[in-house]
């Protein structure tokens, strides 16, 4: 089982909270100021980290699903 992470870049405001919570899953593009998803389908043992990043997003643009 893997996770599926998606980021709605339209809504991303570059608050960088995802990178601060989960720097191995998210980075920030210095040019656009928006999030970069480093792993779209991380293994299921990363669920807590991914969900923490999703919860910490002020713009609520990160979605974490199983499968």
């Amino acid at each position: 089982m893997a996770l599926q992470i998606t980021v709605d870049l339209e809504g991303c405001k570059g608050y960088a909270c995802c990178m601060m919570e989960a720097p191995e899953l998210f980075d920030i593009d210095d040019e656009t100021g928006k999030a970069i998803l480093l792993e779209e389908r991380p293994s299921a043992d990363r669920a807590e980290e991914a969900e923490r990043a999703a919860r910490s997003c002020p713009a609520s643009v990160i979605l974490v699903r199983n499968g």
Partner: protein
């Protein structure tokens, strides 16, 4: 524990609810809020929601149906006015009593005012969606806005109003903006940034008095300058909303005094968000943090503490502020720093580091977000000041 009452319909409250349910709590949850609205997001109130006018459904932290699915009973538009920690009851306006097994204090803060409203006339503050709606109505291009106080909120309001086409003056008693938070050298960058964007920033200008006339408001400064304002905003900080705890026995000293796990001084009571003061194990000091991410993380931690967890709350503070094209990001703490190092500075970006007792404690990154994660790691690991600044 079968009855949890959360006082304060806030960001922290939403994360308490999530934390309780995620960790298996199945009992009752009652959410009490003084404002009539469901919990909403406050950072936009001085930025995009001020520019466009606040639309509540876009600000709501959770859609209305979410509270039903989480089995939360809402008691909104009703302030808590008292607390009996022996009987374990919260008293609401109108006299209703809510018994609890676990209580979460998440009442946040109220904007500090210049004095009684009768003394200063129509001076706006920004704290609630109603405040932002009222100020938005007044932000008409060509008008003169005077902001009292060059803190983060004041500077955000100034930038927003300037972008809307107002003439904007900012009056600040300290020599540069944000001195209290960031110190002089970093504050100077913000001064230059606002001056370059056409804000009439008057630092070192103490306020003498505010006089309301039929044709507007006169702002008189100690040096004799008089500014004629169409609109006045006070951005002079907030005070923790703890008045309802008077006489309850809950220890309050500039916030609800908590242990490292966010438990307050009465049984079954925890606090989270702007209102909570606790001892941070990493920084070795008691603090109160008025920041978005802190409310999220303390909400989760307070929920775990109610459920019996005994871990300390040790998250590194992180906040952002957007002013004109400057995306300001800060990780860690700057207060109490004994040394500061400007790593890079230019017209559009700046990185400054803050240290104490030989280790890094904070980093300010303006338009340089990628460095934040690295500095956060260095702060957690208490990396030596010389190693992180290259001066060692």
């Amino acid at each position: 524990m079968n009855r949890v009452v959360i006082v304060g319909a806030s960001l922290a409250a939403v994360h308490v609810i999530e934390g309780l349910r995620r960790n298996g709590y199945q009992g009752e949850i009652q959410l009490v809020g003084a404002e009539p609205q469901l919990p909403y997001d406050r950072p936009p109130l001085s930025k995009e929601a001020l520019r466009a006018g606040p639309e509540l459904d876009r600000l709501l932290l959770k859609e209305p149906g979410w509270y039903g699915t989480q089995a939360v009973e809402l008691c909104l538009g009703t302030a808590a006015v008292g607390l009996d920690t022996r009987a374990r009851q919260v008293v609401l306006e109108g006299g209703r009593e809510l018994p609890y097994d676990g209580l979460v204090i998440a009442t946040g803060g109220t904007a500090r005012s210049l004095g009684g409203p009768e003394e200063v006339g129509p001076v706006h503050v920004i704290r609630s969606v109603a405040d932002t709606a009222a100020l938005h109505e007044q932000l008409v291009p060509g008008r003169h806005l005077v902001v009292i106080g060059a803190g983060f909120i004041g500077l955000e309001v100034a930038a927003t109003a300037r972008e809307m086409g107002l003439d904007v003056s900012v009056v600040e008693a300290a020599p540069v903006p944000l001195t209290r938070v960031l110190g002089g050298e970093a504050g100077a960058w913000f001064r230059d940034h606002h001056l370059a964007n056409g804000v009439d920033l008057r630092c070192g200008s103490a306020l003498e008095q505010v006089e309301v006339t039929s044709r507007g408001t006169k702002i008189q400064l100690v040096d004799g300058t008089v500014l004629a304002a169409d609109v006045v905003v006070a951005g002079i900080g907030a005070v923790p909303a703890t008045g309802w705890l008077d006489g309850s026995g809950v220890h309050v000293a500039d916030g609800v005094v908590c242990d490292p796990t966010l438990r307050a001084s009465a049984p079954g009571v925890v606090a989270a968000g702007d209102v909570a003061r606790w001892h941070h194990p990493l920084f070795g000091q008691t603090m109160r943090v008025e920041q978005w991410r802190n409310a999220v993380e303390q909400g989760g931690r307070a929920a775990l503490s109610l459920l019996g967890d005994t871990d300390a709350f040790a998250a590194v503070p992180y906040f952002w502020s957007d002013q004109f094209d400057a995306k300001v990001r800060f990780v860690g703490v700057a207060g109490g720093a004994d040394t500061m190092h400007v790593e890079q500075t230019g017209d559009t970006s700046m990185v400054a580091l803050f240290g104490r007792d030989g280790v890094i404690r904070g980093a300010l990154c303006v338009n340089a977000p990628r460095l934040l994660a690295r500095y956060q790691k260095a702060i957690v690991e208490q990396v030596a000041w010389g190693d992180v600044t290259g001066t060692g």
